[in-house]
Amino acid sequence: MDAITLIGAMSVLAAGLCIALGGIGPALGEGNAAANALRAMAQQPDESSNITRTLFVAMAMVESTAIYAFVVTVLIMYFNPFWNYAVEMASK
């Protein structure tokens, strides 16, 4: 297997693994946060606006990990420096 094949195969694998593993944790966390917020809102409906705002902030915090994974995936898929380097070396 030459270098360009290896880089291509590994990039695709890495991109898939990156978004898959990076998505699991935030998904569990967001589900947990939403479930607890719903429970809190059912118990004290007067505080629902306060809870919703805090929930938004917390969800954004939790979600940012998934966004990092997504950005890295996009980097690997479309702006891959190693792939560009390999193509450049192969064309020489």
Partner: protein, 296 residues
Amino acid sequence: MNTILFQIFGYDVSVEILFSIMIVAAFCIGSLFWIRNTIGRIFVLFLILSAWFSSITTGGENTSGLNLQNVDTMPILTLGPITIGGTVFYSWLVMAVLTILAWMATRNLRSTLKVSGLQTAMEAVVRTIRSQIIDVSGDNPTHYIPIMGTFFLFIGMSNLMTIIPWFRAPTASLSTTAAFSLCVFCAMPIYGIRNAGLKGYLKKYIEPTPIMLPLNILSDFSSTFSLAFRLYGNMLSGAIIASVLMMLAPFLVPLPMQILGLITGTIQAYIFALLAIVYVSSVGPQKPFTDQLNFY
């Protein structure tokens, strides 16, 4: 599905584009019957049609591959030696829309019973931002509203304007979001020192114990990074989903995602402004703010 039925003006009309035009037309006609208000009808028609066109144009005209042209380097105008990229141009467009709206709303302000609709809408927006700032920071909102309100309005307007065909949101570029989060990074010490003085602000870094000093310094940087990347990633994922769906099932399936993008765009603008307020007011004022004007 790609069977070409007939040609019109040199364009091939296939089965799927015919179907999608029929379904969008059915949506439009149905909404005309459903809504009994002239402005509402025009608004819903505009929403459906422009969302449809914009989902097609952001996905790219070629349905063969992903069209992920970088907005930063997309040349729009060339003024002599200076080439103006997409991000700057579309930012100017959003700024122009916001400025014209604000100018029209504040042109003749009235406090009588007869106020214009635009003034009422703008007052509602400003009032909501004010009350949110009071709730989150517990501080006088007058100091925060120029920067935080601008973040919310600019990001929200640029995300909402993606409904216009050929408009690419400037927030889908890392340079714009990094500039915004750098503004927040610079605003953190300024507001902290204003609220608690230099000594009180520096005390934030050695709380709860001086061992946490490196982590506290690091958290300032990481919050700045996360602000920038969150907005960028969310907006970019919208564009990528549109182009992937455009490649898989063109002309109709991207439409609901485009309308969903309006909701997520507004939520992202809200979250950016809210987190900026949280970070900036982390070193809070000495005594809690009581709204004596009872403005909201």
